[in-house]
């Protein structure tokens, strides 16, 4: 089954058989299995990543269904990570998928991510992303930030000591609000696809774009090239 599965993908010269083999040797840790994470997991498993750990402690509820992939009404109340593993394993049995039904904290994050070739951000808050950024820099693991709000999505691949880090782009940390974040249902799938594109580029050794800003409502697709901030307290050189 494995040989024909990726035939159309390996015809892409940027990937080829060599790139496909490389992908099959890579391990991804995905934190968060909601709007972004479920879509990213779906894409990465179908594209043939070697193995993926999906981490999410939360359960599926009705309000998730407008922006997630894979889940259905009958999954309400079940663990997101477990359902993603169950369904995506049916899509691609060659991928090693592990469901980790745990909350990521400062105490356990290192043990959860330290074997990863790249981290995929499916989280929904800035403090967790800052923690992820700190640990990724410490262990020299690239990661791909993605976020959505209303009709705007952003993506940035962060390569420790090579690109700007997440702290560089969030000098003013937004106050965490408790209310629900509004999200257009079609947006997470779009942004997750861009996130996976950036992850593929990093895994295949191509330098990623900068901060990608996509506003689906206003037809704005921008890439903001950002240099590392020399004075960044986390990744700066000074």
């Amino acid at each position: 089954m494995g040989q024909n599965r990726y035939r159309r993908q390996t015809l892409v010269k940027e990937l080829g058989q060599k790139g496909q083999k490389l992908l099959a040797s890579k391990h991804i840790v995905l934190i968060g299995g909601g709007g972004l994470g479920s879509n990213s997991a779906n894409i990465l498993v179908r594209m043939g990543i070697g193995s993926i750990d999906i981490i999410d402690y939360d359960t599926i509820d009705l309000t998730n269904l407008h922006r997630t992939s894979v889940f259905s009404e009958k999954d309400i109340g079940r663990r997101k990570a477990s359902v993603l593993k169950e369904r995506l394993q049916l899509v691609n049995a060659d991928v090693q998928i592990k469901a980790i039904n745990r909350k990521v904290t400062s105490k356990n994050i290192e043990s959860l991510v330290d074997t990863s070739d790249i981290l995929i951000d499916g989280t929904d808050n800035i403090p967790l992303r800052l923690l992820l950024n700190k640990i990724a820099l410490k262990h020299n693991i690239p990661w791909v930030y993605a976020g959505v709000h209303e009709t705007v999505g952003m993506v940035m691949a962060i390569m420790p000591k090579k690109t700007a880090c997440f702290h560089c782009i969030t000098p003013n940390i937004p106050v965490q609000k408790t209310q629900e974040i509004p999200v257009l249902g079609s947006l997470p799938a779009t942004i997750a696809a861009i996130q996976c594109n950036e992850a593929m580029k990093v895994l295949l050794g191509k330098r990623p774009a900068g901060l990608i800003i996509y506003d689906v409502w206003n037809q704005c697709f921008d890439v903001l090239n950002i240099k590392r901030n020399s004075y960044c307290p986390l990744c700066g050189k000074k």
Binding site: I126, C168, I226
Partner: protein, 82 residues
């Protein structure tokens, strides 16, 4: 003096442009740029404290002095939903 400021994301839609011209004085800072932008386009007021501002492709503190030779960009705040 006048300075050209590149805008990104929905700021392009709000301003109708890729770059806007703002008046600054000697010794003005990035915060003054943000203030001038908000004054000219009041509907970006809610972003004021979290706007992403770069000088010469790098984020810098709001008290950084700006000259007309600098490349300044303004972008909407980082989004955090998932």
């Amino acid at each position: 003096m006048k300075i050209m400021v590149k805008v990104f994301g929905r700021y392009k839609d709000i301003t109708g442009k890729d770059a806007i011209q703002l008046d600054i004085k000697d010794g003005n800072t990035l915060q003054d740029i943000v203030n001038a932008f908000v004054k000219q386009y009041p509907n970006v007021e809610k972003d004021k404290s979290r706007m992403m501002v770069t000088k010469n492709k790098m984020f810098a503190s709001s008290d950084t002095i700006v000259t007309k030779k600098d490349e300044i960009t303004l972008s909407p705040p980082v989004v955090s939903g998932g």
